[in-house]
């Protein structure tokens, strides 16, 4: 689906055909979900946030001025929504479920049984460690590495989405990669 198609769909939605927005959702939901998932490392939470992001986009569609690509506009809403959600979430502390084994209290690990074909290809342990390390990255690094190295966006696109200049994008990418590489090295993964 081309950029023109996005514009056509937006026009339809703005004319009152809300159902036409389902094309936009289908086109971008995987990318949005993936980004959100790596920000919060929780499937259900990511699903809810993804839905909220699309609702926010739908509500704000009238304010889209076609100054940038629709995808860039959508991704900037996505990034800001995640930032706001994280701020809100940080106000409340979470307590892990614990179980008593003998004299010790250990966290209950809830296994995710969802089908995941990609996970079978990559070594399960490496993927688990990678996910853990991504979730432990500082927010700025996780945000920019998700856009650059997971989604493969260009420096310019990232600059537009995050609203920072190109040199800052480069610096942040370098620092984030270095941080992650050192973390994976210390875990014996590389």
């Amino acid at each position: 689906m081309s950029v023109i198609d996005d514009v056509e769909i937006i026009s339809k939605v703005l004319e009152g055909d809300t159902d036409a927005f389902s094309h936009i959702i289908r086109k971008y939901q995987d990318m949005v979900f993936r980004y959100v998932y790596y920000q919060f490392n929780n499937y259900d939470e990511a699903l809810d946030i993804t839905q909220d992001i699309f609702i926010t986009v739908l509500e704000a569609l009238g304010s889209f001025r076609h100054e940038s690509k629709f995808s860039t506009w959508l991704y900037s809403i996505m990034v800001n929504h995640c930032k706001n959600y994280r701020k809100k979430k940080n106000r409340y502390s979470t307590v892990p479920l614990k179980i008593t084994k003998g004299e010790d209290e250990v966290d209950i690990q809830l296994q995710d049984f969802r089908e995941n074909p990609e996970e079978k290809i990559i070594n399960e342990d490496s993927l688990r460690i990678m996910k853990e390390e991504i979730s432990k990255l500082p927010d700025d690094f996780r945000e920019i590495l998700s856009l650059r190295d997971i989604e493969g966006m260009s420096y310019n696109e990232i600059s537009d989405i995050l609203g920072i200049n190109l040199s800052n994008v480069k610096v942040r990418i370098h620092r984030g990669r270095e941080y992650l590489k050192n973390r994976l090295h210390s875990r014996g993964l590389i």
Binding site: F54, I55, E115, K181
Partner: protein, 224 residues
């Protein structure tokens, strides 16, 4: 160049191809010659390929189109409903206020007669109503109370009596009675004016009824 290792930024730029042709050539030659920089670059490549490989590690996402659009519509409906709540509340208050004023709860002097009389018996209520209208009690019988009130307070008294559905009639208006006649057991009175109730029958002992010559006063009979 061999003695000066490549910085991480240079390796990262090389990975992203964010270098000039000359830089690419120089960096590549250096990496081939320097084992430290080669190891570093290989680590970076491995790290980033693993990061890219984790793309599918978040699982499959179900189709959320219908649910999202349904949630959006519900949200819009809720917002429209919430928008209308203040208008509905304001309408209710206005209607209630008008009704409240219309029923006579609020008097001219902004006093609440209902609060005063609601706990009292009928007789006390009638007496108090006359007193509050700056009037005086002329006579009290088993069936009614006669009173005299200033003309200016008639409307106020009538509002209170109407509100409590107390039956009443105006015995005399501005004119003094045309005649007074006593007969066995009954007294009959007539008036010059036809504007208000012209005559009434009442029992003995009502000798004060027609005594007022004050044109500013009105005689009222209030039935229990």
């Amino acid at each position: 160049m061999k003695s000066e290792h490549l910085s991480f930024d240079q390796l990262s730029d090389l990975f992203d191809n964010e270098v000039t042709d000359n830089e690419r050539k120089t960096f590549t030659l250096h990496i081939q010659a320097c084992s430290t920089c080669r190891r570093e670059y290989e680590s970076l490549c491995m790290c980033l390929s693993m990061l890219k490989g984790s793309k599918g590690g978040c699982g499959c996402i179900p189709d959320i189109c219908q649910e999202t659009i349904a949630t959006y519509r519900a949200k819009i409906r809720k917002r429209e409903y919430l928008k209308s709540v203040p208008a509905i509340a304001a309408s209710v208050l206005i209607i209630a206020g008008i009704g409240f004023l219309h029923t006579g709860h609020f008097m001219d002097e902004k006093t609440l007669f209902s609060a005063q009389v609601s706990t009292q018996g009928d007789l006390e209520r009638i007496i108090d109503s006359i007193r509050d209208s700056k009037g005086r009690i002329i006579s009290i019988t088993g069936e009614y109370v006669d009173g005299e009130i200033p003309r200016s307070d008639l409307a106020k008294l009538e509002r209170v009596l109407n509100y409590f559905r107390i039956k009443h009639t105006i015995i005399s208006d501005t004119q003094s009675p045309l005649f007074t006649e006593r007969s066995s057991g009954f007294e009959e009175a007539g008036f010059r004016t036809n504007s208000i109730a012209g005559a009434s029958m009442f029992g003995r002992g009502s000798e004060f009824l027609m005594s007022s010559q004050n044109r500013n006063k009105i005689h009222v009979r209030i039935f229990k």
